[in-house]
């Protein structure tokens, strides 16, 4: 079965990159340190037999109790049904990770969104700006400790400041 090949490949990769490996509902999950992301992505892209060369999704999950943010990459393929999930763990106080734009130009918007909503900084991203929220928005709303402003506060925000 193709899936077992993939599981084995990911397991080997996990050992090589001192990451953790698990299989969650049949999907191989590779959890690594943020610094090894590019290596992991490149390796997953070039898996022999079952390459996961299509960056399906890029997002991040906030774990304030562990003081970690996981940047989650879902890699799939356009040749077969394989899919792996790579979780890159970064420090919550200083979330910095290397960009994937050099591997997939399509990571551009997804990384910008991740930066916008989760505050993860992507090293080497050509144009890392907020994308969905406005430029002078404060905070990163998808973090668990983000306090949604009250209605009054939001009304105040909606009024354009002079000079905008």
């Amino acid at each position: 079965m193709e899936n077992s090949v993939l599981l084995k490949l990911v397991e080997e990769l996990a050992q090589k990159l001192d990451g953790e490996f698990e299989a969650s509902l049949g999907t191989p999950v590779l959890k690594i340190k943020g610094a090894r992301t590019t290596e992991a992505l490149q390796a997953a892209r070039n898996f022999s037999g079952t390459p996961c060369e299509f960056l399906h999704d890029l997002t991040a999950v906030d774990y304030p109790d562990r003081n970690e943010i996981e940047v989650v990459y879902h890699l799939t393929s356009l040749r077969g049904p394989q899919m792996i999930r790579i979780k890159a763990v970064v420090d919550r106080n200083n979330p910095v990770i290397d960009t994937a734009v050099r591997i997939w130009p399509g990571a551009d918007f997804m990384e910008r969104e991740c930066f916008d909503l989760m505050g993860v900084k992507f090293n080497g991203h050509p144009d890392l700006r907020r994308i969905l929220l406005w430029d002078d928005f404060e905070g990163h709303p998808l973090r668990k400790d983000y306090v949604t402003p009250s209605v009054e506060e939001r009304k105040r925000l909606r009024i354009m400041q002079p000079g905008e």
Partner: protein
């Protein structure tokens, strides 16, 4: 060579051909676009954040609002994700009904895509034809649940059973579908001007499409034979016999034609589903309080505008710890930056039209 100044022109957020509040900042050298920057986020509602404070079933109506032209696609994607996370098996009949409704929604949405594509190129009439045809699908939705645009049909564990009069209407629609597509081929696809405007315009190469994570009809128009329904089947899609239409050149014309052919294939799927659908209940037994186990799930369905994927992180409570929505539009938009420069301003409109984005899905 005479040197000319560029002008920077704002297209949107209110503009007839951006289909919503999408804004592009285009640099024009005469008629030629030298650079385009897309600005999204005007419709950002923080869906992913909202999901964290809603229970699982409460979030279903939000997925309607994700892509207002293909509400059922997002609905079904979401409920399937949660079911997969919980390990719920739904009855056969419900699976078939989901396929029928999903494909009907795909046809409805592609009709709009084809119509607006034409109207963006100046041909208003096909748009109205498309609307008239789509009306019949919306009527069927209305019969079933009362809603027309944001239908909210599926539930976790099943789907609403359509009423008696739904089936003859569906049969008639599926029988008329080839005629409708012929009509479209006659009025738009075969039109000389339409072909001149779209053939060879905005070519998206196979490599670029893959690198840009593009999915859906746009990817297929670039010649990649990839359809989740076929290649990584979910639900009961492996039971149906259908083609995955692909284009050859990846130009606007191919993107248009791929959509038309997908409608035909959807018609085929519906016909097979109508033939095979068993009798029985449409709801599985699911606990009143949906409480998935701790875990993570990434589930993708072949949405109308690209793959819709949900990544749900559950901490065992009634609310998702984190819910990530991946819509086709948001990622497909990136194509504009890479493809548009060098084309004429009118081509920019044609390319955007052929991309068929829906802004709520993009901004979430």
């Amino acid at each position: 060579m005479l040197r000319t100044d560029e002008i920077q022109i704002n297209i949107g957020p209110q503009h007839p051909s951006t289909h919503g509040v999408f804004r592009m900042l285009a640099n024009l050298d005469g008629e030629v676009v030298t650079k385009v920057e897309s600005k999204v986020g005007y419709l950002h509602r923080g869906m992913e954040k909202l999901a964290e404070s809603r229970t699982y079933p409460q979030f279903i109506p939000y997925t309607d609002r994700l892509d207002y032209l293909a509400a059922i696609a997002a609905n079904i994607g979401y409920v399937q994700t949660v079911e997969k996370l919980m390990g719920v098996e739904i009855p056969e009949r419900a699976e078939y009904l989901r396929v029928i409704f999903f494909e009907l929604q795909r046809i409805a949405s592609h009709l709009i895509a084809a119509g607006t594509n034409s109207s963006d190129l100046g041909g208003m009439t096909p748009f109205l034809y498309a609307m008239a045809d789509r009306e019949r699908i919306l009527d069927m939705f209305e019969m079933t649940i009362g809603g027309r645009l944001t239908v909210n049909l599926p539930r976790i564990g099943g789907i609403i059973e359509p009423p008696e009069e739904f089936w003859p209407a569906l049969k008639k629609f599926v029988d008329d579908l080839p005629g409708m597509i012929d009509e479209f081929n006659g009025i738009i696809t075969g039109n000389e001007i339409f072909q001149a405007r779209t053939k060879g315009v905005g070519v998206l190469s196979k490599e670029l499409a893959e690198g840009l994570s593009i999915t859906g009809p746009v990817l297929r128009a670039s010649g990649v034979k990839w359809d989740v329904r076929k290649n990584a089947p979910y639900g009961i899609y492996d039971r149906f016999d259908f083609e995955v239409p692909t284009g050859e050149n990846g130009d606007c014309f191919d993107r248009f034609v791929v959509r038309l052919r997908e409608m035909e294939e959807s018609g085929k799927i519906i016909r097979q589903a109508m033939r095979d659908i068993p009798e029985g209940p449409t709801f599985a037994k699911v606990a009143k309080v949906v409480k998935p186990p701790v875990g993570e799930i990434f589930h993708r369905v072949e949405g109308v505008r690209g793959e819709i994927a949900y990544y749900v992180v559950s901490d065992g409570s009634t609310k998702p710890y984190r819910l990530r929505l991946r819509g086709g539009s948001f990622i497909n938009i990136q194509m504009l930056h890479h493809v548009v420069p060098g084309w004429k301003f009118a081509d920019l409109i044609a390319i955007l039209a052929s991309l068929d984005i829906v802004l709520p899905e993009c901004d979430r």
